[in-house]
Amino acid sequence: MTTMTREETDALIQEVLEVYPEDAKADRAKHLASNDQSAEKSSKCITSNRKSLPGVMTIRGCAYAGSKGVVWGPIKDMIHISHGPVGCGQYSRAGRRNYYVGTTGVNTFGTMNFTSDFQEKDIVFGGDKKLSKLIEEVEALFPLNKGISVQSECPIGLIGDDIEAVSKKAAAEFGKPVVPVRCEGFRGVSQSLGHHIANDAIRDHMLADVEKVEPGKYDVSIIGDYNIGGDAWSSRILLEEMGLNVVAQWSGDGTVAEMKNCPKVKLNLLHCYRSMNYISRFMEEKYGIPWIEYNFFGPTKIAESLRKIASFFDDEIKANAEKVIAKYQPLMQAVIDKYKARLEGKKVMLYVGGLRPRHVIGAYEDLGMEVVGTGYEFAHNDDYDRTMKEMGNATLLYDDVTGYELEEFVKKIKPDLIGSGIKEKYIFQKMGIPFRQMHSWDYSGPYHGYDGFAIFARDMDMAINSPTWSGMTAPWLKGSDAPAAKAVNE
């Protein structure tokens, strides 16, 4: 089904790289590749997790985004203080749509922004006093919080504030976890290091004193599901229907109690490998809890994953898994019957982060669509190892793609749909290409689980088959004698 040969893909990469100066070209060439399913290790054909080239438009985030925005932020009954100037907290507030239940401002704080609002004098004289005062105020105003995390922004590291000492003192005073997280934005090359730092902070401050408890027979936890648009909920019901007991959700709709519950599970189910594998590995080592990766996008992958999860349990669970798959089969067939005819053969290009560049491929294939290019903002080589098996041969892989490269690839490949972030959305829509914002499901969702797939299919159909796209040419430019439309930058 692949439309491009390896030679064509390689030629395209060369053509796009042409504009760069010699050094930049050599650097960027390592990050672009045509997929080779036979390669065992991705490191042979693609380089990842390297510093972005100065001067290009990268789409990456920072370590603070990885820690506060992804890992810590969704833990709903903790207060996450954005320690530093006001902007980082304000612009990352609630944008990721990590849904939760609770009364915001009373016992849950997910969509609120707590910040120490650094001013010039705090930079000059240090902000430790302000932080301890802030923690006192938070305690007085929101006594039902179950803990506080201090998410450092860049200046904290630059001026060398001792947030650990303040946190330790406050933790002793209030008898709650107060977690200093050293996730200054300048650390690392992307948000990926922020995930790692956040995982290490969870390990050191939340799980340090937690002892192994005898696991319940069917206890599992969902790790690395951020409940975007309700994703974790639509995953959770499937596991519960199978007879498993979900004791913890990390970290979408998650709580401190759930985190501390984790050492009593039998199996950790890891959805986003990139952001939470560190803590899963830690729990495997300390508590002996095995972890597996699963994929809840699209009926084929869901069935595969449910069987894989069930294989860790007894026959009853295995039988239940088959029952769940059989129960949803006709519903999913109805979805596919409805949308496949409208979507069959459409080409998709993805450029997102975390797990989506590989996990959603199955869902598109269920709808008869083909993913012709995919790439990650902040993946490591182990992510590409996993991706290469999922992608067709000779399809395009791009790591930390620049704004220019992505636009050029799109102009040449001409996909029918692009899935990427908000910064790319309007560029491509103005180029006349249907687009879905795949970071937070374009204000839709959930996309996980069987229920999510129905929504996913509807959204993709809405984007691609919208009548808008037939109105891209002005009426007076239609017809045979009209001058051909020409892009400004061609």
């Binding site: 490191s43 590995r281 080589n381």
Partner: protein, 69 residues
């Protein structure tokens, strides 16, 4: 002397993981593989060799100090 984590993969093979180096590789050969003495030079699938001080056979997964040869 990086800290490396040794674990069994889903397929039952021994894998070595170095978080800081972003390296996860299958261990092809282990120099000593008796219950009393386990470790030594670990040869990875990509050809690199890590040396782990011999120890009694550990319960995996385990984090140990290893030296890149």
């Amino acid at each position: 002397m990086p800290s490396v984590m040794l674990r069994r993969t889903e397929g039952g093979k021994l894998s070595l993981y170095v978080a800081k180096k972003d390296l996860e590789e299958i261990v092809e050969t282990v120099e000593f593989e008796t219950p009393e003495k386990w470790g030594g030079a670990l040869t990875l699938a990509d050809g690199s060799v890590f040396y782990v001080d011999p120890m009694p056979e550990p319960k995996l997964p385990i984090t140990v100090k290893a030296k890149k040869m």
